[in-house]
Subunit: 230 residues, 2 copies
DNA sequence: TTAGTTTGCGTTAATTATACGCAAATGTAG
DNA sequence: CTACATTTGCGTATAATTAACGCAAACTAA
């Protein structure tokens, strides 16, 4: 075997969003070769003088118009050496959580269509993107229980019932509404706003806000976030 | 900027071992260019037709004579585009835990020397290997608390005091010996052997063994390992 | 007014964690 | 042979946390 290395390096972006009590992921439709159209995760080749994290943020922006400042690295996929049939390509996957209600997406260069796709109706995707997405979902599920990332999926101000619903939906678990509320409130990083939900059914509900500063202070004191389920 | 990509892809191996009540990592000494010698993590370029995980296991074997069957992916380092001064190189880091008392290491191709290095006396390493190692250590610490990986660092049969010591040392925390024992035993995946420790001081201690099968059964039933510290 | 709905606060029992006490089983020093 | 140092292994009391549930308050719609 000759020693020459001809491997391309790509990045892929998994962007999770939450709306209508469901978890979504951002997909693009791409044309491959002459005929085939495939849904895929946003992503593409890293440029020569570009860091990996810059690359994934650039590709996401180019293909979906979504402008993020940070994505977290998920995993690097390079064990299947034929994952791309054209060349050997290794892909570093990144993920992010966004408030989907507050985001303008539009197809741009490279992508023909961009869409939020519900997590339980994902089609067959290009390359090994189904595998990548699965890994991202299990990471999301795990992280949800030990870091307060659920708030990233919600608007600035949200209802307790939204938060509760988010947890139940994503983790596919039942949960006691009252104990959940008690526990989260006991942490002390949520603050009540003076605003009420516009929904006109049942008792009016206060809107809450996640206080990141307070959370960071707690962390410094050794606090450890955790949500457990039966 | 031209579209041509000339990025090499490498793998690096972090192998943790435990002996003499201390945590160690496997390092090699390499010659760079004409004069400089540097300690570094084992690793090297991925071959064209080789999966990432095969590559890291091969490199580790070539450089240290340590033959593993599995390593877990840690992180991919590619944000500092000058991390290797010669070319742009992206490195996928993998780590593993081994029973150091049971391992023959020897310098081989590429490496001049191989050595277990105590984690609190790590020298300045080549490239960004200090950064990589730091990340590996924090991953190890985190994982130790929610997966029963401590046993991988011990011999097949071990003393409870060894296990206790391992946790205290790596996590740098105090722990109540009796509560720790009670908790671990309550999980039911440790089995007593008929053997006793050869140490001739104090009351003779039973040797224990980690029953992976039993652990896997528990996992299937929804069990979740956890060791918390004050 | 009444029924339906969701919020927000509370109480109690069960479980788990924490902080210890102490005897058993050895080797060793005198 | 005895007293002592040392480490193991088991136990118990108390505090803290979690889980299970009750119910009134505050609104809308009819």
């Amino acid at each position: 075997m000759k020693n020459f290395q001809n491997i391309r390096i790509a990045v892929d972006a998994i962007v999770f969003g939450y709306k209508n009590n469901s978890l979504y992921v951002l997909l693009i439709e791409q044309q491959f070769g002459s005929a085939d159209k495939y849904w895929a995760l946003p992503g593409g080749l890293v440029k020569q003088d570009e860091s990996l994290s810059d690359a994934v943020i650039r590709e996401l922006h180019e293909e979906t118009n979504v402008q993020l400042t940070f994505m977290e690295q998920l995993y690097t996929f390079g064990d299947d050496i034929y994952r791309d049939s054209r060349n050997r390509v290794i892909s570093v996957a990144y993920y992010a959580l966004v408030d989907a209600s507050n985001l303008e997406i539009k197809a741009d260069t490279d992508a023909e269509r961009v869409q939020w796709c519900k997590i339980d109706t994902i089609p067959i995707l290009a390359f090994d993107h189904n595998l990548i997405l699965e890994k991202a979902i299990s990471r999301l599920k795990a992280k949800l229980t030990y870091e307060p990332i659920g708030f990233d999926l919600l608007p600035e101000e949200f209802l307790f019932s939204d938060l509760e619903n988010l947890y139940c939906t994503i983790l596919e678990k039942e949960i006691d509404r009252r104990n959940f509320r008690k526990k989260i409130l006991s942490y002390g990083f949520l603050e009540e706003t003076d605003n009420f939900s516009p929904i006109k059914t049942g008792r009016p509900a206060k809107l809450f806000r996640f206080n990141k500063l307070k959370y960071n202070e707690l962390i410094k004191k050794g606090f450890h976030f955790e949500i457990k389920f039966a």
